[in-house]
Symmetry: D2
Subunit: 229 residues, 4 copies
């Protein structure tokens, strides 16, 4: 589970890389969040060596990792999925096959794109409501039983004092860092550019998290966008 596409390429194709020594029939599972194009490239190289490659990025964060409740989004051939599932099931309670190699990454990227957008949206709506004189707890309660409801509003609310046990209750420490979100949005941007998909709010979300990194929020949880606004 390496941080960037470049690290993954090096680990596989570098001078002492995995591709140099991998045994026939091995199952190689990469759980980093990287460019799906790179996953596909690596899978081809691995196949040449007679082994099998799968991408299986995770979601759930540190908490879910500790309790073995991660979600794995797996891309790879169907025949080998049972084997992967057995291994990954030790760490995760959800192991979902998304399709062929690269689709695990694609699902992860789409999820985090939507997550970033709805988190910023939640921060904007809560902030506007507070400035209009609303009580934040009451506002969150009504949003959560209405059409504005989303994971960022009902499970991970970014406004201090609204929920317990979330980063906003702990000065935005822990959780999923702003830098990591900016990185994932960079991958979404790259995928959108290469597939010519318009992501109007997504590219704005990307830029907002980039700015936050430059303004001292890089190590805070990504819900600190409420504080930034």
């Amino acid at each position: 589970m390496l941080p960037t596409s470049i690290n993954a390429i090096e680990a596989y194709s570098g001078a002492n890389g995995i591709l140099k020594k991998v045994k026939k029939g091995s199952l190689l599972i990469d759980s980093g969040t990287i460019d799906p194009m790179v996953s596909k490239e690596l899978a081809k190289e691995v196949e040449k060596m007679g082994a099998v490659f799968m991408d299986a990025p995770v979601s759930g964060g540190v908490g879910a990792a500790r309790s073995g409740n991660l979600t794995f989004m797996v891309g790879g051939v169907e025949e080998e999925f049972a084997a992967a599932q057995e291994l990954l099931g030790c760490m995760g309670s959800n192991v979902v096959r998304c399709g062929d190699v690269g689709t695990g990454q694609a699902v992860k990227i789409c999820n985090n794109l939507l997550l970033a957008i709805s988190m910023i949206g939640t921060a904007e709506a809560m902030n506007l409501g507070i400035r209009l004189g609303l009580d934040p707890k009451l506002l969150a309660k009504i949003l959560n039983m209405s059409s504005g409801r989303c994971w960022s509003s009902d499970t991970y609310n970014p406004v201090p004092g609204v929920m317990d046990g979330v980063p906003s209750a702990n000065n935005y420490q822990g959780g999923f860092g702003t830098t990591l979100m900016a990185k994932d949005l960079g991958l979404a941007q790259d995928s959108a550019t290469s597939t010519k998909s318009p992501i109007l709010l997504g590219s704005q979300a990307h830029q907002i998290y980039r700015m936050m990194c430059a303004k001292g929020y890089s190590k805070k949880d990504f819900s600190s966008v409420f504080q930034f606004l």
Copy 2:
């Protein structure tokens, strides 16, 4: 329940307006979605006549209205809320007091701001995923058990073929029109400008719905942003 702030002002303050003839002690409830500043102004005028004004915008759409399951977000003095609740309970299953006059509007505006943002976000994420080769039903299923989950993805998915009984399953007919969403986002924009609240994604969502209105989507449901992208 009139469409704009101007209509409401005329109904109350116009030549043959309500303010000319209202009896002392009357309870006046306005369920249109209008500028909260206007609600406050009207409440002051009504108070001068010895009557009581409340704002009580609704959510839920045509379906909920038919079945008496609307949500009413009520702004007004606490002492009169029980009376309002009795009346509104005939049409709605949720009648929530949000605070003093204007707060019903404020909550409605914040909800629809977040709704518009998460709907466009859902459309962008689903569209990107499809172009990356994912099956839309599978993608929606995984998003809905992950942190990208929102009402627009799990209850009102904008991609044809993913869900039944929603406007996207019926060529985006019925539902909540793009023009109405553009109008509500105009109110959010005005409130944000007057309270100096930054709404980076919200103002972009506003502009996107404005453009859609000009491009032939005005009568379609607001989830048609998927088709537009």
Copy 3:
């Protein structure tokens, strides 16, 4: 030349307002930047008193005011324009009639909308170029002989060290404050909402200047967006 629409309304329609005492035949010229709808309203009231109202917002800043080189954008009836021109010519080297009442404001708003967008664009392009290893002076020089050229790049460059005698050469002091730009963009936003004109970049520029005001840039020149980025 009052700062907001509300101030202008009070100066005219307030308890001791101009409308109470204005003599027939007077020529009233308002040089504040306000909502063109308000200018039109005031003109109607003034006309009822037998006087004439014109809107004549200025551009050029403190320097041009000192040297009598302001530009006045005038909206008002053609017959009275010569009289206005004579007066305004004492302070301005350009006195342009833009059409009937309100058009002076409309031109001012459109100019500042485009100005804000091209200033932020210049800041983004210069910043990106510098991070790509370009010399800022050389980059500015080439932009200014190419299709990226604009007033913000060739006359008021936001990058310290590129030009002399501009706010960026003086720690962004003096010039046209970020708060004032945010205010003018608020007027542009209101005009765009009421005429249903899409301003995708304009509304984003508005939000960026709003954020800057909240982040300690309110008193700096609006070219400090380079520093903010």
Copy 4:
């Protein structure tokens, strides 16, 4: 002068590529607009063969190419610049050295980023002004003597009827196609992501041109954004 980074890589490194047969001491000049990182990679490979590589993207369009008045933005070692200048001077009236390999691309990308932003800004401001009742010719005239002035407003105005001899006077035929602008903004986006530079308006401009390509504007001049709005 090939359309994409991938084409350039193939022309140099492909099975029958230039790198296979290039003679020592050759001067290789690439005038396509591609990723500056790719230019640098190619330069390294070329150097290994004992030859010299320069990037020299152009601006000016078909008209300037015909009349030999192109602008060349050159990146490459200083010692060889005189030789390049002699060749490129046959086609261009401006041949500017921007620094080492890759800087020609960097300048081109920054220019087109700013160009796209100011073109969309001009379209938004002109459109808003027209809807506010202004005469487009008069509005353009005043903008062009004010701080909103830019190449898109004074040399290439996007509103039909304002200027002669530009694409907007000819149903947006000829000129610089929307697809090409979307491509260059994709390069700007990639450069911004890899250097972690925030480009808030730039990424929005990118998405707008992407949407235009999907909506039937791909072959029209990029000033057709006025028509799109």
